[in-house]
Symmetry: C2
Subunit: 229 residues, 2 copies
């Protein structure tokens, strides 16, 4: 085996490198600045090379999003498993993982929640996002079973939980927080305490009594994707 040679004809793992380089560019200049020619140049290959790995630009974006959802799922699973207590504590851990993921994977997060990333055709991307989302649904329903979340249609609760962490994550990623002088150093402790507070507030039983949604009577998370058994 020869020593690591920088300039071999074959790249090694161009697919992986393209994604890495893309994330760098997104971090620095945003998703709009992504272009395959420029990325190929950064990856050290010619402009045609990426087409052996991605059919087109959209497929690269979809691959980044898919990887992101898989990383998010892993992070949520790992953080949830660290909490062995109440289901509500576990739910807060998922929320914490969500926000922490967004801040530590800004490039992924931006692509994942970009409207035009998700084409109806891409089943793999849909599956990966469904799995991550299902973790949240399950955690909310477990809170209901455990009695730490109000019974009934879990949809409003899921929306509440998701929008809470998604808003914080979005503001963190888009630097919306810098304008009010939030230092990155204090962000971590802030995320932890805020997600816990938000979710514990959500779990208070008085919520459904004022939600105005009981009368909808729809089935429990009927449209939620289910994990394969």
């Amino acid at each position: 085996m020869p020593p690591v040679k920088k300039s071999t004809y074959h790249h090694g793992d161009l697919r992986k490198t393209m994604i890495e380089v893309s994330l760098d560019v997104i971090d620095e200049k945003g998703v709009d600045a992504l272009n395959l020619r420029g990325l190929a140049l950064l990856a050290g290959v010619s402009s045609g090379a990426p087409y052996h790995h991605f059919a087109d630009r959209a497929e690269l974006l979809a691959a980044i999003a898919e990887e992101g959802f898989e990383l998010l799922e892993s992070a949520m699973v790992a953080e949830g498993e660290r909490e062995t207590g109440d289901a509500s504590v576990r739910l807060a851990a998922l929320g914490r993982a969500y926000v922490m993921f967004a801040t530590s994977h800004r490039g992924h997060f931006r692509v994942m929640f970009r409207g035009d990333t998700h084409s109806a055709k891409d089943a793999a991307l849909k599956n990966s996002s469904d799995r991550a989302f299902q973790l949240l649904c399950d955690a909310v329903e477990n809170c209901q079973i455990e009695g730490t979340a109000p019974p009934g249609d879990p949809k409003p609760l899921v929306v509440h939980a998701w929008s809470t962490v998604h808003g914080l994550a979005t503001l963190c990623v888009d630097a919306g927080l810098s304008r009010i002088g939030i230092e990155p150093e204090i962000l971590a402790s802030m995320i932890t305490s805020m997600t816990s507070q938000m979710f514990s507030a959500m779990a208070r039983p008085q919520i459904p009594n004022t939600s105005g949604l009981e009368q909808s009577g729809s089935a429990c998370c009927q449209s939620m994707p289910k994990r394969p058994t």
Copy 2:
């Protein structure tokens, strides 16, 4: 005065029309689909005409964002003034206005919170967004004065409030909610109840005791823009 003539040489108010047409395109195809040539065609003028009103594409986007922040401010002021009770009730009204604005002005909202819209040069845009943001800061501080929000650094409270409504607004606008079967018809009542619950939960005095932020001791909203007096 001749009857309204469809094809006069002078358009009338091309600037306004360009913005309107842009919002239609954003609604249908997203911000990425905006291009000045196509917009000019839709507005019924030649491709060079818009340049008498906007120096370039970025200036058009900035104009849309600025108009959006002005509309948002108006909506928040109007909704806040309808509530004459507690400061905390007024804060919830602002949150409701924020989410309702996002759902009824999707195009504006998308441009307003797009990372690349805000260039440091555009003072008018910065002013309009600062004013809207200041409404939220003032409302939070009024809750503190009134005693319905915990004392101390208001920053975490402002972040909490903002991220809550921003997350819900983002999910509404990006159709993230459709995947869990939230019907548009029930969204309105949901927004009202959720923002109220979220903000009343936020205002509970136990929050700062667990926020892990007291020790930061930073000045109250020191970086927040102040309204001109």
